[in-house]
Amino acid sequence: MQAAAADATAPGDGEVPLLALAVGARARIAEPRPGLPIPQRLADLGFVPGTELWIVRRAPFGDPLELELRGYRLCLRAEQVESLRVIPGAAR
């Protein structure tokens, strides 16, 4: 469960946009691509590479999303996380 930022995954290898993830499917946050850093605000909330997360649900009208990471749940609008890329699959 511990963040394994050292995973030597080449950028782009098996990555998908977070928003492409199915509800309930686990994934880990991927290393950001050069020039596309993870927004500071998200990083402060714990969105750092290697962190496991999953989409708990989408709101009744489709947006925002409820995400679980680091043992807590957070709602974010889709537009705020559209730059995030993840590697599907559980960390363990």
Partner: protein, 635 residues
């Protein structure tokens, strides 16, 4: 350490820092009790809360800083926190200690904030809240181990139950005795910070907690695409109903009580302007302040209950998409809905909106929502001038006009929000993020205290100014005084005194400006008087038309209908002017109380002044168009 152990005669100052929902405010209330003072940081909408530590022989001032996930200033809240912690905010003295408040169930996020705080070099103590929930979810929390690892004092509490509070009360009195943090490796970015967090969590065995199954089960229902929307609708309907009708008996009682008090004062005191000042100025003014209390109490009971239980965030989650279309947030919904009762509690309720930009937008459009004070005006004018007739045999025309007025208000509010978002408040929309806290049982004591705080804040911050304006408006309507003529009825005397007043002169002076809207000077006087509160225009019109009492609805309605212009011999007032007046009331910010509350909540008179200006411009234009169009169609 010893250098600081001097006998300080100034109060000790400590600040609580933590994420929203970390239980910081509950802790603050438990620490300071009723001594809390709520204000604003100068010139901004950020709430400042400070109180004195209870049970402490030494004066300890506790500052409750705004909830924040990071102390690197991005949002307004964070900038305030950053400046206060650095001792760089004007008017804030240096802190003797920082209390980091972290929700023990979310340590793997929360410790990131602690890591930032450790960099400030000030004495720090860590308080872990909601330790009962960690245990309930199969986890264990050992403050002593965390303390050994970090070097700083660590305490576990359950704030709303008072568990673990005694040691906290003790250590807060002497921040300079707190043990110093151990040296830490540098962590300049979030990646390094959270790597440290993960390491700490592994060392103290803060394992992943079991899911909160109760919350999961409730959420599956309450956030379901169909059931969730239905529940949202029901809760909002209940809230709407409660502030609209449950408050009415109490409001009527306050009204009647003050009416009785005015009558009794008149009977007991000699006639004269001093008595008038007391009854029509002061008593009426106090009554007009207190009459808001039932709605404020009911609305805030509702809001705090929903907040404490955890539904408020869910409601915002459900409706966020819809509010997002006009540039607002899910949290804007409840305040705007409350404005149907009254904009005063509605604007106060915007405190639940965390992002300042969306909060300001909500405040600025709130007065467009059709408040209950407009209803008596609409009812009178519609009854007097809209034909009592059914359209297509089923829909009453009068009801339809009333509905259209409500719709016009709501549409304008949402439209202006969108417009403000793309003009005046243009810029990056605030990042929307929100936690859905676990469902929790509310505690009555906390609820009662929160409601009391809201009511007291209203009385202290707005009550006095509302009272003062009420007295000023009374003076405008009563001076210069004309001697009563015994040959005339009291109603005729009342009219004569009004006609001689400053307000009447203002009404006459306004005539050129309002004639294109179909209004004569009598409406002008009513508009001046309605600055105190919209419904006052009904009483003023009653006085102008020498109707014996403002409660004589039929008398006033007939007087309006049969008023003839002495110069032209034509009716003074008809359907076009009545509709124009209704439309004027849809748009104009004819309410001092709202403006006072706006100023208090935004920290400046600039915003209410701006709102008054644009709403007046809109009101004039819309009434002009309405009058010109309908009089042409009718003529």
């Amino acid at each position: 350490m010893s250098a600081a152990v001097e006998l300080v005669d100034r109060p000790v100052r400590v600040a609580l820092v933590g994420a929203p929902n970390a239980g910081k405010t509950t802790l603050f209330n438990a620490l300071t009790g009723s001594s809390a003072r709520v204000g604003n940081y100068p010139g901004v909408t950020v709430e400042r809360r400070e109180g004195t530590l209870r049970h402490s022989p030494r004066p300890v001032r506790v500052l409750d800083l705004p909830g924040t996930y990071s102390v690197v200033g991005e949002t307004l809240d964070e900038q305030i926190v950053e400046k206060v912690l650095a001792g760089r905010l004007a008017g804030e003295s240096e802190l003797d200690g920082i209390v980091a408040v972290l929700d023990a169930t979310t340590l793997r996020r929360g410790l990131g904030l602690l890591r930032e705080l450790l960099k400030t070099g000030r004495p720090i103590a860590l308080v872990l809240t909601m330790i009962d929930e960690v245990r309930a979810r199969g986890g264990k929390i050992e403050p002593a181990r965390l303390s050994a690892l970090l070097g700083i004092p660590v305490l576990g509490v359950v704030g709303h139950r008072g568990v673990g509070m005694d040691p906290l009360f003790r250590i807060l009195q002497e921040p300079w005795r707190w043990s110093k943090p151990l040296a830490l490796p540098p962590a300049d970015d979030a990646v390094a910070r959270f790597a440290w967090v993960d390491e700490v969590c592994r060392k103290i065995g803060a394992e992943q907690l079991e899911p909160d199954t109760r919350t999961d089960r409730i959420d599956r229902l309450l956030l379901d695409p169909l059931a969730g929307v239905a529940v949202f609708g029901l809760v909002m309907l209940l809230l709407f109903q409660s502030i609209f009708s449950w408050a009415v008996p109490a409001m009527n009682a306050i009204d009647a009580g003050f009416g009785e008090l005015e009558r009794a004062s008149r009977a007991a005191l000699p006639a004269g302007w001093l008595t008038d000042l007391w009854t029509d100025g002061v008593l009426a003014g106090v009554g007009s302040v207190l009459v808001f209390l039932p709605q404020i109490a009911i609305l805030f009971t509702f809001i705090h209950l929903l907040q404490d239980v955890g539904y408020m965030a869910r409601a915002a989650f459900v409706v966020d998409r819809v509010m997002g279309w006009v540039g607002l947030q899910g949290r804007s919904f409840v305040p705007l809905l409350s404005c149907y009762a009254c904009a005063v509690p509605g604007i106060m309720a915007t405190r639940t909106i965390q992002s300042p930009r969306e909060r300001l937008a909500t405040i600025l459009v709130a007065p467009f929502m059709t408040c209950s004070a407009r209803l008596p005006v609409y009812t009178l004018l519609i009854a007097a001038f809209v034909p009592h007739r059914a359209l297509l045999g089923v829909v009453g025309l009068q009801g339809l006009v009333l509905f259209a007025l409500y719709l016009l208000g709501a549409a304008t509010a949402l439209g202006s929000a969108a417009l403000l978002g793309s003009t005046l408040l243009k810029g990056k929309p605030s990042v929307f993020y929100m936690e859905l806290p676990p469902y929790r049982w509310p505690t009555v004591r906390l609820l009662a205290r929160q409601v009391w705080h809201s009511a007291r804040a209203f009385l202290k911050r707005a009550g006095t100014i509302i009272l003062a304006t009420s007295v000023v408006l009374w003076a405008l309507l009563s001076f210069p005084r004309s001697a009563p003529d015994p040959a005339r009825t009291p109603a005729e005397n009342a009219r004569a005194s009004l006609e001689a007043s400053v307000a009447a002169h203002v009404g006459h002076a306004l005539e050129p400006a309002i004639a294109p809207l179909g209004f004569d000077w009598k409406i002008g006087v009513g508009l001046v008087a309605s600055l105190a509160a919209r419904e006052v225009i009904v009483a003023t019109l009653a006085q102008t038309y020498a109707v014996a009492s403002k409660d004589d609805f039929a008398g006033l309605r007939d007087a309006l209908r049969s008023d003839v212009n002495p110069a032209t011999g034509k009716p003074e007032f008809g359907l076009p002017a009545a509709l124009a007046l209704c439309v004027f009331f849809v748009f104009a910010l004819q309410c001092t109380s709202t403006m006072v509350v706006m100023a208090r909540e935004t920290g400046t008179w600039r915003w209410p002044a701006l709102a008054f200006g644009y709403m007046l411009a809109l009101a004039w234009t819309a009434s002009f168009v309405t009058y010109q169009l309908t009089s042409r169609l009718a003529g």
